[in-house]
């Protein structure tokens, strides 16, 4: 659409599964008649002959010859709708029309405002009580969210976050954490075809104040604060970004159970290592929320047992190479690594980075490495350029040390660890105290 705006007639080619999304995006950009042509899904892994058949075949959306769509899209005269586009306001009301509780539950469900589980209805009284959890004004703008980079941002206020916190069943004292998560600007409901989720971590004194869980069942539904804060982050991501609707604002092929709720706290007092937030520039008495983008793969193990090195090497090799891991380690396990000489997270991470390897052939044979990393490699950006120069049979390093993260949590019923796909950026740790 940017090319159209600069005066270049353009046709965009997509696969047919994205037709509804394309319609929504072009309409939201004021250019609903921009020209599109569709081929069948998929293009990935198709041979040249199969792709040629697409081009000589029929557009599965318009049922007209594909190339006729392309040529006419560039050369047919414009009509009035093409010259005007569409302009409109999309206001959302503060309050809904009064109705019964049952009808409102149905209304929320039917409009895609829930995670398909019942919600606590956000009455004025409940929202007012939730807002007592922060000193910030209800109409203060917290930030903006969108399901993916090519969609438009929606803006939201403290009150809107509180509404979603009520719906999730959260308590007012959790609100600063939920506001902090919302303020990251990172949606927990990405529309990526990769079915990503956002995993969130709480550090600092707020954990004890609100009773977050870092012990038995830390990554499961065994703590009210963890469960409802994580659910609130997902509900607010759905509603404050303009939806998470399959085929439109959500395209994850398989979906992701982490999208229900995936918030946990670090067991700072039982960890032999520096807490995550202190590693990332905050003081031990500051409270923070951190988010990790992914949740796509999860691997697990125990240890450190005699063959722990092989186990970790296998786990890294089984990870998706475009998505670095967060390793959640039970305190028993972490202390075991201290006994082996890894007396800091950084030392253990250095070993991990050195041992997270694949052959160059395997590394590059990944559609997202091809799509995202190969252009950088060809432009000379390291470490991708070196990885591209490697012999196909060379075992190349796949994660840099600063991409691997470790958090200590767990109930010490056994020395277990989980390795979860979760990309992190330093700006994704934010202050909870700022939202008290």
């Amino acid at each position: 659409m940017s090319l159209e705006e600069q005066g270049v007639p353009t046709v965009a080619v997509h696969t047919d599964i994205f037709a509804r999304l394309v319609n929504a995006v072009t309409r939201a950009n004021g250019m609903p008649t921009s020209r599109q042509a569709y081929v069948p899904q998929p293009v990935v892994d198709r041979s040249p002959e199969q792709l040629r058949a697409y081009i000589y075949g029929t557009d599965p959306v318009s049922s007209r010859p594909f190339m006729q769509e392309v040529i006419e899209g560039l050369s047919n005269p414009l009509d009035e709708a093409d010259l005007e586009g569409v302009s409109f306001e999309r206001n959302t009301p503060r309050l809904l029309e009064a109705d019964t509780g049952d009808n409102l539950q149905q209304h929320f469900q039917a409009n895609g405002w829930t995670d398909h589980l019942p919600v606590i209805l956000p009455t004025e009284e409940r929202v007012a009580r939730m807002l007592e959890g922060t000193s910030h004004a209800p109409d203060e703008v917290v930030g903006k969210l969108r399901p993916t980079f090519f969609r438009e941002y929606w803006e939201f206020t403290v009150e809107k976050v509180a509404v979603n916190a009520v719906m999730a069943g959260a308590r007012p004292e959790y609100l600063p954490v939920i506001l902090a998560l919302a303020s990251t600007g990172q949606t927990s409901r990405s529309s990526s075809t990769n079915s990503f989720a956002m995993i969130s971590l709480i550090n600092g004194p707020i954990r004890k104040e609100i009773g977050t869980g870092d012990g038995i069942g830390v990554l499961g539904p065994y703590n009210h604060a963890n469960a409802t804060i994580g659910r609130a982050y997902n509900l607010l991501s759905i509603n404050l970004q303009g939806g998470s609707e399959p085929g439109d604002t959500y395209m994850g092929s398989l979906g992701n159970w982490y999208n229900y709720s995936s918030t946990f706290a670090e067991a700072e007092e039982r960890s032999p290592w520096t807490p995550f937030h202190v590693q990332h520039g905050y003081g031990p008495t500051e409270s923070t929320a951190s988010v990790f983008f992914g949740g796509w793969y999860t691997q697990a193990g125990y240890g450190p047992r005699e063959t722990w090195q092989e186990k970790f090497r296998h786990a890294f090799a089984g990870a998706e190479q475009y998505l670095p891991p967060i390793i959640v380690m039970d305190p028993i396990c972490a202390r075991g690594f201290v006994d082996l000489g890894y007396d800091s997270k950084e030392k253990f991470i250095a070993w991990c980075a050195d041992n997270a390897r694949l052959t160059a052939r395997e590394y590059w044979d990944n559609q997202w490495i091809q799509t995202l990393m190969r252009p950088q490699a060809e432009a000379g950006v390291e470490p991708y350029a070196s990885r591209l120069r490697a012999d196909p049979d060379d075992r190349i390093s796949i994660f840099e040390p600063d991409q691997i993260k470790i958090v200590v949590a767990g109930g010490e019923t056994q020395g277990a660890w989980k390795m979860i796909g979760g990309r992190y950026q330093p700006s994704w740790t934010v202050s909870v105290d700022a939202w008290r």
């Binding site: 353009t10 293009v43 198709r46 190339m67 999309r90 509780g101 929606w154 303009g242 559609q367 252009p375």
Partner: protein
Amino acid sequence: MTNKLIVHDPRGYPPRVTGKRLAPRLTALEGKVVFLVDCLFDNSDLFMDQMQHWFAQHLPTVRIRTIRPRESWYDDPDMRATIGEEGDAAILGVGL
């Protein structure tokens, strides 16, 4: 009588949509420069190769040039500037 509740709308605030016009179309493609924009998704280069073959066979006077953005997903103003200065039309593709 059934009790009725007043509740908040949970949605955020979408931006206003402002209409934009399409670029003027070409009266004919013959002799024009058409850029095939390989958007860098896996296999889109092969797809664009096949598009190029189609043009060579069916509209050989169209001057096809292929171009790639610096990265997939992100806008590349330099690439757009090249297309604007040196091209008459563009075909972008292909997604997933």
